[in-house]
């Protein structure tokens, strides 16, 4: 059977998760090519509509990843991101988007190895979920 290769859009914080991805790169660690990183200055600037847009354009999952609680470069952006993710996880599953397609993680700047592990895990899980029904909804 052919393996489904999902597209996963990841909004990553410049100060931690993006730096961890950079560290993974300079350490020559590999992570799945399914992940499409979008660097943002803080997870607190990820408006829920960015997540919705990604899903409507055909992403199979969206990851938002920021600093551990207490480490936010802007003091509390990650706490705001957590509330918004809570809201999205409440609303979008009603329309058939599995909750596991909406992910929030904390990955510190020195967690290069952990970054790679998490990307592998998420990719594996979303592969199992398969494509979202969005791809059948032509042009919406």
């Amino acid at each position: 059977m052919e393996i489904y290769e999902p597209t996963i859009v990841a909004f990553v914080c410049n100060w931690c998760t993006y730096t961890a991805a950079d560290l993974a790169g300079t350490s020559r660690l590999e992570y799945p090519k399914n992940i499409r990183l979008i660097r943002v200055m803080c997870t607190g600037m990820v408006d829920p509509q960015y997540v919705i847009k990604a899903l409507l354009e055909g992403a199979d999952a969206v990851l938002v990843s920021g600093c551990h609680p207490g480490d936010c470069h802007y003091i509390n952006g990650n706490f705001k991101a957590r509330r918004r993710m809570k809201l999205l996880q409440e609303i979008l599953p009603r329309f058939g988007f599995d909750r596991n397609r909406l992910r929030l993680t904390w990955i510190g700047a020195s967690d290069g190895i952990r970054f790679v592990e998490i990307m592998h895990n998420i990719t594996r899980q979303v592969r199992e979920l398969g494509p979202t029904g969005m791809r059948n909804v032509v042009g919406f």
Binding site: P48, Q49, I52, R82, I91, L104, W106
Partner: protein
């Protein structure tokens, strides 16, 4: 604090007008905002009254609900004026006004919110039919229908589904709350529900009332609430089943023309510059070609689902269920049904009930350092 408002021959509108007259006579009150009869027509629109003689034109219990007046109240209360305004509104309008005040869209400092038990309303289209069918005063006919517990209307008309599913039809969030469903008592109970309400109500020198005035009303209220809960739960279940996949959601909005009337009518969608009105959505012509090439065909206007989902995320924690989105929809999409269903879940997730209290911050404006551990991972 509960007082008795005299009620003559079950004339509820007359009693309400008397209360508004008493409030307008106070020296620090200079106007009343309330539903007004429009000259020469049966339409009722929000209006402002300064002359006590014109109070007679106020129609407080009409089943006509052309728009949510909380938006207009924001305009009237945008800056201090030095005197109080009495705003006589439906419970859902009061809750919307409170939500808007929390979002800094108008202040309630100089506003006295007067509310009453709400029998519900028709959609604009059904109101036209209803008011054309009944021979006498449409508000009186409606009043009699509720009082007779006979909510059957001519020509298969029914109340707007938002109203049939509304369980918050008592004016719990008002400063001064009128128990208009106590029509059998000879008095209407008037209750001050806030400190401000108490300050004004005690200056009206109305007779003190014990709890017994409310007993008959409580029976009516709990009866109606049971029916509304049953209707609401059935509506939730039906709506959930109608949108439980992206394909079904797309079908639900298949006749949306993206007129954005629902956004304009929504009292909670307060952004002066909505992102959907900005040039972010003036896509390049080449972008459309690319989309079309990629999928083989695209539906236009684009961004329909994007618009509704974004609106859901932006306002569902504040939705008061007034039903004006459906009222404004030119294509009879069940916007209210969907938004109420989703909003119930959003508000429950944060232990929030929109418009319940001015002191509860909207969920998206605050956070705790330690909460929702299940979201992370």
């Amino acid at each position: 604090m509960i007082r008795k408002l005299p009620l003559e021959k079950g004339n509820v509108p007359g009693a309400v007008r008397n209360l508004l007259r008493l409030l307008l006579a106070l020296d620090d009150v200079d106007a009343v905002m309330a539903p007004l009869r429009t000259p020469g027509a049966r339409m009722i629109m929000p209006g402002m009254v300064s002359d006590p003689e014109r109070i007679e034109a106020i129609d407080p219990v009409s089943p006509c609900f052309p728009l949510n007046a909380a938006q207009l109240l924001s305009k009237l209360a945008r800056k201090p004026t030095g005197a109080f305004l009495v705003a006589c509104l439906r419970p859902c309008e009061i809750r919307a006004a409170i939500e808007r005040a929390k979002l800094h869209q108008g202040s309630l400092e100089e506003v006295i919110l007067v509310g009453m038990d709400c029998g519900g309303a028709f959609s604009n289209r059904d109101y036209q039919t209803f008011s054309g069918t009944v021979s006498g005063d449409p508000a009186e006919a409606f009043c009699q229908a509720i009082q007779a517990d006979e909510l059957r209307f001519p020509e298969g008309l029914s109340l707007a589904s938002a109203c049939q599913a509304c369980t918050a039809f008592t004016p719990d969030a008002a400063d001064i709350a009128l128990g208009t469903f106590a029509w059998e008592s000879g008095f209407l109970p008037v209750e001050a529900r806030t400190e401000k309400g108490r300050r004004f109500l005690e200056r009206l020198h109305l007779e003190n009332a014990g709890m017994e005035v409310c007993e008959k009303r409580n029976v009516v209220v709990s009866d109606i609430r049971d029916r509304r809960i049953a209707f609401r739960d059935a509506m939730f279940e039906k709506t959930r089943a109608a949108v439980d996949s992206p394909e079904k959601l797309a079908a639900y909005f298949s006749n949306c023309v993206l007129c954005t009337n629902c956004r304009v009518a929504c009292p909670i969608c307060y952004c002066r510059e909505c992102v959907f009105m900005t040039d972010v959505f003036d896509h390049e012509p080449l972008q459309y070609r690319n989309w079309s090439r990629k999928s083989g065909a695209i539906r236009l206007p684009r961004d329909v689902l994007f618009f509704h989902l974004t609106r859901l995320v932006h306002m569902s924690t504040g939705c008061v269920g007034c039903g004006q989105c459906s009222n404004a929809c030119p294509n009879d999409i069940g916007v209210t049904e969907l938004f109420c269903t989703i909003a119930a879940g959003s508000q429950q997730a944060f232990g929030y009930f929109s418009g319940r209290s001015i002191d509860e911050p909207p969920p998206m404006t605050v956070f705790e350092t330690s909460e929702f551990p299940e979201v992370v991972g």
